[in-house]
């Protein structure tokens, strides 16, 4: 039993290193990996887009890897960030043209005076709670007094966990031993038995479950689907060249349609970003990496639209952010939403 656990931990550690390495390799990318698009022969417009190496940002990666940015006349440099809270700084300081990240980051900085705009949708929140089989945790309420490995405090995931998931379960932040770590450390600590449960997103959720001994006790997408990931740019970038931002959105819309309608093809383009080689080596044998990534894609809801209902959910979360002390004053989210591109599509 003990040996199995050590073996499993060693495997997870290796896998996370490989994931990290994949991410590090992705640092910045200026060369296209796929076929040239329809604008071949034309000068491509240089653009910098920020992303985080998680499934939530699959559309940015796919648009790059499937040549969709090029097809819309863009030479995109994808800039990797460790988290949305880091990525937003690249948009605030003008380094990036746009990024795909949790919208609460836009609210945090806008409420302090930064000029940011949410210009399109990306993905509805997928956040799960995985509990160790031996932990005795079967519901969110059972987390009371337990060790939870979770995402950085102040991140979109953290705001939702405390403001929605814990709120519904009658829990407060102080009721649970919160350990704010990276998703890979969360998976490792869960498998090593150092955390009773972990709050994760894809593909970390799937990787943790591949190793067995954990149960998914909660997934917010099933309970309260909300517009977690959005496309954010700065007011300056929008004023400078709205057409360029629209092209980014066009390319990502094509990527989202591929993710939703052809998940297998999409997985074949992007699986290499999450694993080295073609298979995941699990205790039960090898599993095809494309299969795993396809499942992770299918578990998500990608959308380029922001509906009036979504805007209301964003407002609800902004209000929760005030309650949690993340922002000081009530914030009107409509002041940062610019749906001109979306309206032109409809």
């Amino acid at each position: 039993m003990r040996e199995k656990r050590i073996l499993r931990t060693a495997f997870i550690l290796f896998l996370s290193l490989a994931l990290g390495a994949c991410g590090a390799q992705g640092g910045t990318e200026t060369t296209g990996q796929a076929e040239q698009g329809q604008d071949q022969g034309q000068d491509l417009e240089p653009v910098k887009v920020g992303y985080v190496n998680v499934m939530d940002d699959a559309q940015a990666m796919l648009a790059k890897d499937a040549g969709l940015y090029e097809a819309h006349g863009l030479d995109v440099e994808l800039q990797l960030f460790a988290s949305g809270t880091d990525l937003i700084k690249g948009i605030v300081n003008g380094e990036l043209d746009a990024g795909v990240l949790g919208f609460t980051n836009g609210v945090s900085w806008s409420s302090r005076g930064a000029d940011l705009k949410v210009v399109g949708g990306a993905q509805m929140g997928y956040h799960s709670i995985l509990a160790h089989e031996d932990s005795g945790i079967e519901t969110v309420e059972d987390l009371k007094g337990k060790d939870l490995a979770t995402q950085k405090q102040g991140s979109t995931a953290d705001v939702v966990l405390n403001g929605v998931t814990f709120e519904e379960a009658g829990l407060k932040r102080q009721d649970v031993n919160m350990n704010y770590v990276s998703p890979s450390v969360a998976v490792q600590s869960l498998q090593a038995g150092k955390a009773d449960a972990a709050f994760l997103f894809e593909p970390y959720d799937r990787i943790a479950r591949l190793q067995g001994n954990v149960d998914e006790i909660y997934e917010i997408g099933k309970v309260w689907p909300f517009p977690c990931m959005v496309v954010i740019t700065s007011g300056d970038k929008l004023d400078e060249d709205r057409e360029k931002i629209n092209k980014i959105l066009d390319a990502q819309k094509d990527a989202i349609e591929m993710l939703e309608n052809e998940p297998r093809e999409a997985a074949e383009y992007i699986y290499h970003r999450f694993v080295e080689g073609d298979t995941f080596d699990t205790p039960d044998g090898e599993v095809s990496a494309v299969d795993v990534i396809q499942e992770a894609i299918e578990a998500q809801t990608f959308t380029w639209q922001i509906t009036p209902e979504n805007v209301q959910q964003m407002q609800d979360l902004a209000d929760i952010m005030v309650d949690q002390g993340v922002i000081d004053e009530p914030f009107d989210v409509e002041s940062i939403i610019d749906l001109n591109w979306q309206e032109s599509q409809e």
Binding site: G113, A114, N177, N179, S189, A195, V326
Partner: protein
């Protein structure tokens, strides 16, 4: 006299604050708040119980990890003085530890010892152990051979050589090592709190302020981290140095 001693220090603080204010004039306020805003938050924080708890958490971690490193480093350094073989071994350990940034141990330590204070305390100990050990080890090599020979002739055994000769002659190196080790300990403490899954502590609170775009909070955190380090180093460690090395500060003829 005191004014003359304080003048360079005041000038150093003043010039840093001036640069801060100039950057504030250049950048938007939400990226770089003014000196007044930053310092107002800094002083205001001291009436916030949550902030006091945060400072206490960091100091308590330091209070465990740093003395442990000092004792461990000094003891092993002294043993290296009497055993050549051990000295070579210790130098090898130190050169390995020196090459690895202490913060890289955090994910590994979290897996071994779970979350909480222990991984952070161990990081502090690793970070501050090697300057102390190296300082004492180097000092043992400079111990006056005549003193050693004299002690041996008078019948001192190895233990007595350690406590009566090596320990006394390496005291200045111990104090210097403790000061260098303190800098390492404090920096690694803050860094470990930023990434080690902590939910309280100065590193965590500064990192959290950054997460939510609260740059005033970040600057107030930086001022707090710097101020506490200066107080501990210049006031406490310096006075300890003067107390332990009193004989060095005594002038000729026994006059201070």
């Amino acid at each position: 006299m005191i004014l003359r001693k304080m003048l360079p220090f005041v000038a150093a603080v003043g010039s840093l604050l001036f640069i801060w204010q100039v950057v504030h004039w250049i950048l938007p306020g939400y990226l770089m708040p003014s000196v007044f805003e930053g310092l107002s938050r800094f002083f205001g924080n001291f009436s916030d119980p949550v902030f006091i708890e945060t400072v206490q958490a960091s100091l308590s971690r330091l209070g465990w990890g740093y003395p442990l490193a000092c004792v461990l480093g000094a003891t092993l350094g002294l043993i290296g003085g009497v055993s050549r073989l051990f000295a070579v071994y210790l130098r090898a350990v130190i050169s390995i530890l020196q090459a690895i940034p202490p913060i890289t141990w955090v994910p590994f330590l979290v897996l071994l010892f779970s979350f909480g204070n222990l991984p952070i305390i161990i990081v502090i100990t690793i970070a501050s152990f090697f300057p102390m050990a190296l300082s004492v080890l180097n000092a043992t090599e400079g111990v006056n051979r005549t003193h050693l020979d004299l002690a041996r002739v008078m019948g001192a055994n190895k233990r007595q050589l350690l406590s009566k000769v090596y320990a006394m002659e390496t005291l200045p190196a111990f104090v210097t090592g403790a000061q260098v080790a303190f800098g390492n300990a404090w920096r690694s403490l803050i860094a470990a709190e930023m990434v080690g899954g902590a939910s309280v502590g100065l590193g965590w609170s500064t990192s959290y302020a950054s997460e939510i775009g609260d740059m005033t909070g970040v600057l107030a955190g930086i001022v707090t981290i710097g101020s506490i380090a200066i107080i501990l180093d210049l006031v406490i460690l310096e006075s300890l140095k003067r107390r332990l090395l009193r004989w060095r500060y005594v002038g000729e003829g026994g006059q201070k």
